[in-house]
Structures are given as structure tokens and as C-alpha cells.
């Protein structure tokens, strides 16, 4: 079945409405400043999202390693349960929070700052994406923290290390595989996300996935949409290649101990 997938995937590349081999679509996508800006924006959005998601999720994962069993099951349930609810529903929830006369605008106008808008900004998309992707970071980091021998930080403390030192010299290096995995997973998912940028970004904010949808469904330009899809896939594959490399390196380093 997957073989089938791969084959028609290949197909998608050059299926023209006119079936002539051409690189025109790629030329248009990769060398036109309008589309280059969109590619750049996709990268920036995914990068910002990945970093913020990591910063948000890491302490939660850290808490999971020290929390009592009951607190832990609560946190896990609350963090993971949104995964079971459609992205479209959660994103619309954010649209209400961030939208016109939403919670956040009211909050700011309470401080006398009126005329501030969140919906249809990059910040709104980042908030939505971070919300959707936090579970993945928590899972990645928590798994790598769990793999650590729980006695190691204790040993460091008994040898006189302060909490900051324990974090910087013990926890951070030992959870590095989880951190890189979390970063790369969120980058990959964010770069190909569609619903969140489409709903929270408005019609003016365009990333690769959004223009791909427009080209395919609205404009019916399937070859160009396919070129965008291949480009997006390349980005995701490169990210995944990096992830595997990092994972292997981490294994290699852990092996001699």
C-alpha cells in the first residue's frame, strides 16, 4: 500500500494538464521573489514555533519526572487530551480568544490599550501552532528524561551541585536527544500545517501549505500544486534526515558508557 503511495507520489510531480516534461513549475516556485518570500515565511514560522514549543513544553516534561503519580496522570491527561479533538475545533477556539472583542483584546483594553489586534497576525498562528504541538515536545523530552538513571541528578546534588548546575550539566545534556527530536518534529509538523495558518492567519498570510491548497482546489493548477508539495516534502525529509542523524549520534555517544 505504501509502495502504491510512493509511486503515485512520484506521479504527482510532473503530471501536467499538458503532459510535457517541464521544470517551469519549479522555476516559478524557487526563483520568483513572491514565492521565495512564502518559502522563507514557512521556514520562519516553523522555526519560531519549534523554539517556542520547546521552551513551553520542556518544563512540563521536567515536572513529569518529579511529580507525584496523581499529579502526573492529571498533567498527562490534560496535555494529551487535546490531541483527540480535531485541530479545526481547537484552532477556532483560539480564533475566539484572539479575535475581535476576544478575551485577549478585552484584557489589553482593560489596561487602556485599545486598538490592538491579534487575529490574522503571525503571533496568532504561532500561539495556535504551539498549542497544537506542545504534546509532541512533552512526549519527546519526557521519554528521554525517563530513560535517564534517576540517581544521576541525586548524585550530582550530593556532590554539591546547585539546582541550576544540575540542570545545565546533567539534565540538559542527557535530554539533548529528546530536545532535538522535539524541535525537529515540531518544525516538520509546523512547516506542513494547514488549518492553523489558514484560520488564524487570514487571507493575507500565506505559507506553502496554504498556497498549495489554493493552487490545487481553487485554481486547479495541479502541476504547480504538486511542485509545492514536492518542495514541502523535501523540507520535511531533510528535517527527518537530520533527526535520524542526531538520534544515531546520541546512541553512539551513549554506547561506551
Amino acid at each position: 500500500m505504501t509502495l502504491g503511495l510512493n509511486s503515485f507520489y512520484d506521479y504527482g510531480r510532473m503530471t501536467g494538464i499538458i503532459e510535457i516534461f517541464t521544470l517551469k513549475n519549479y522555476q516559478r516556485l524557487w526563483f520568483d521573489s513572491y514565492y521565495l518570500a512564502i518559502i522563507g515565511r514557512t521556514f520562519r514560522l516553523a522555526g519560531i514555533t519549534a523554539i517556542i514549543t520547546l521552551l513551553v513544553g520542556y518544563p512540563v516534561a521536567l515536572y513529569l519526572t518529579i511529580a507525584s503519580a496523581r499529579a502526573k496522570s492529571w498533567v498527562i491527561a490534560l496535555i494529551l487530551s487535546p490531541l483527540l479533538i480535531s485541530v479545526i475545533v481547537r484552532t477556532f477556539g483560539w480564533a475566539i480568544v484572539l479575535g475581535k472583542n476576544g478575551l485577549l483584546e478585552q484584557f489589553f483594553s482593560g489596561f487602556g490599550i485599545a486598538d490592538i489586534h491579534f487575529l490574522h497576525t503571525e503571533a496568532a498562528i504561532v500561539v495556535g501552532l504551539v498549542n497544537v504541538l506542545t504534546p509532541f515536545v512533552v512526549l519527546a523530552v519526557a521519554t528521554s528524561l525517563q530513560a535517564m538513571d534517576q540517581a544521576v541528578p541525586l548524585a550530582a546534588t550530593s556532590l554539591g551541585a546547585g539546582p541550576w548546575q544540575v540542570f545545565r550539566r546533567i539534565l540538559l545534556p542527557l535530554s539533548l536527544p529528546g530536545i532535538t527530536a522535539g524541535l525537529l518534529i515540531t518544525f516538520g509538523l509546523a512547516s506542513a500545517s494547514f488549518v492553523t495558518p489558514a484560520v488564524l492567519g487570514g487571507s493575507q498570510y500565506k505559507v506553502l501549505s496554504v498556497i498549495m491548497y489554493q493552487q490545487a482546489i481553487v485554481l486547479q493548477n495541479w502541476p504547480f500544486a504538486a511542485a509545492i508539495a514536492v518542495t514541502l516534502t523535501l523540507i520535511v525529509l531533510v528535517v527527518q534526515g537530520l533527526q535520524t542523524r542526531f538520534a544515531e549520534r546520541a546512541d553512539y555517544r551513549a554506547a561506551p558508557q
Partner: protein
């Protein structure tokens, strides 16, 4: 290891993040009871009129039914296929096993929206109509890796001696599978069914390309509606979806444990 002060702050932080992560869902449910004709939060007044309004829109009911059918079909097919594949991968050693394993996991790394487009062009090329079976097929592909994974995990937990013992006592292969293997992998089987069902029911990216105006799954219907309107009707529709999801979640937590499903102890 960590002082009480840090532990407390981490706990508070984790609580805030938990709250924020369920905030959009809470907002939707609360907003769905608004009495106003436009979206404003916190809602003005209390009424259930948007639920009645939503119930009168036949397209939402039809889409919900369609989504249920698609999710049911694809979760059953994915789980059965997943069981077969997992059995082959775990119990047998054969040429190309590693490659096959990697191939079966490949859809995991392909973003749904790209797969949706690819499937759309594939269907068009072979003149296969876009109907609910097309959507269900797409969902089987995206849920199959999870099914294989869940069942592989439960299979790996069974001592092969149990199957061998049954065989040596005269059970044929089918009897071994039905009487020994299947009951033992039941948790993974159930997890796969539930998870595939939810994944399929929630999917927008793949279905977006495969549905036609006459056959639209519920998440796509919601997306299309939001794209053109901004009123509380859709919060009522979403709230119903949310409540259904939480019921499923409660059942799953009771029977299986969510954390374990994702590999967290």
C-alpha cells in the same frame, strides 16, 4: 534532587500550561451557549438556540453521519490490516523485512496535506470517483502505521512459548491465533481501533482534497463554514464533537490509560 520551591514552581507552571492547552476547547463549549447572534467571549446570556439552529442544518447532520461511517470503516480496515502486518513483522524473519517495516511507517512522516493532494491526483489519473470510500482509503493509509505500532507492541509482550505450547497441544494455526494470540493482544487491538477512529474522525488535511460538496466529512464541513462565516453556530457543532471526544477519552482512560498508549509510564 530538586528543592521544594522549584518543585512547586514547576507544578504551577505545568498547571498553567495544562490550562492553556485545554483553553480553546473550553472556550468553544462555553461560547456555544451564548444568546447573542455573533461571537463574543465571554458569552452574553445563556441559551441553547445555536444547538437547535445547528440541528436544523441538515448538512451538518449528514456530514456527521458520513464522518462516523468513514471513521468506522477505516478504523476496522486499518486495525485488521495492522494486525496481519504486525503478525508478519514480529513472528517471521524474511528477506526485506526491515524495508517493509520502514515502508509501512512511511505515511507517518508524510504530512497529511501532501498525501491528500497526492491521493487526489492519483484518483483523478485513474478516473476513480471521489466518494466516501476514497476518503476511507486515505484514512486507512494514515492510520495504518499507528495500528501496526500498537499491535506490534502488544505482540512483543507475549511470550512466543504460549503459542508454541498451544501448537504442541494440537491446536492448528487458526485456533492458536483465535484462542491464544487474539485475546492476548486485545488491549493493542482496542487501542488501535479507538485511535484510528479518532484520527479518521478528526482529519481535515486528507479529507479536504477528497471530499466533494455532496460528500463532506464533518471537520471539512466545519472548516468550510468557518472560512465563510463567523457566528456561534459552529461553536455548537464543535461542542458536540468535543463532548463526544471526551466521552471516548474517558472510556479509553478507564480501560487502557492514555499515557501508556503513548509510551509514557
Amino acid at each position: 534532587m530538586i528543592s521544594d520551591r522549584i518543585r512547586r514552581w514547576l507544578g504551577i507552571y505545568a498547571g498553567v500550561i495544562c490550562l492553556l492547552s485545554v483553553l480553546p476547547v473550553l472556550v468553544i463549549v462555553i461560547e456555544s451557549f451564548t444568546a447573542s447572534d455573533y461571537v463574543v467571549f465571554p458569552p452574553k446570556g445563556f441559551s441553547t438556540k445555536w444547538y437547535f439552529a445547528a440541528a436544523q442544518r441538515r448538512e451538518f447532520l449528514e456530514s456527521a453521519g458520513l464522518s462516523l461511517v468513514v471513521a468506522f470503516l477505516s478504523s476496522c480496515v486499518a486495525t485488521i490490516l495492522g494486525t496481519l502486518v504486525a503478525l508478519a513483522l514480529v513472528r517471521h524473519r524474511f528477506f526485506g523485512r526491515a524495508i517493509l517495516q520502514a515502508l509501512f511507517m512511511a505515511p507517518l512522516s508524510l504530512p497529511g496535506i501532501i498525501f491528500g493532494l497526492a491521493l487526489l491526483q492519483f484518483l483523478a489519473m485513474h478516473a476513480i470517483p471521489r466518494d466516501i470510500f476514497a476518503v476511507a482509503t486515505g484514512h486507512v493509509v494514515i492510520t495504518l502505521p499507528f495500528a501496526i505500532r500498537f499491535i506490534t507492541v502488544s505482540l512483543a509482550g507475549i511470550a512466543p512459548e504460549l503459542e508454541l505450547a498451544a501448537q504442541s497441544l494440537g491446536a492448528d494455526r487458526w485456533a492458536v491465533f483465535r484462542r491464544i494470540t487474539l485475546p492476548l493482544i486485545r488491549p493493542g487491538f482496542a487501542a488501535s481501533l479507538v485511535f484510528a477512529f479518532i484520527l479518521s474522525f478528526d482529519d481535515v488535511a486528507v479529507a479536504l482534497f477528497l471530499t466533494t460538496p455532496t460528500s463532506m466529512t464533518l471537520p471539512v464541513r466545519i472548516y468550510v463554514y468557518i472560512d465563510q462565516n463567523y457566528d456561534p453556530l459552529i461553536t455548537a457543532v464543535s461542542a458536540v464533537v468535543v463532548i463526544a471526544a471526551f466521552l471516548a477519552l474517558a472510556v479509553m482512560e478507564r480501560t487502557l490509560g492514555i499515557g501508556r498508549l503513548f509510551g509514557l509510564r
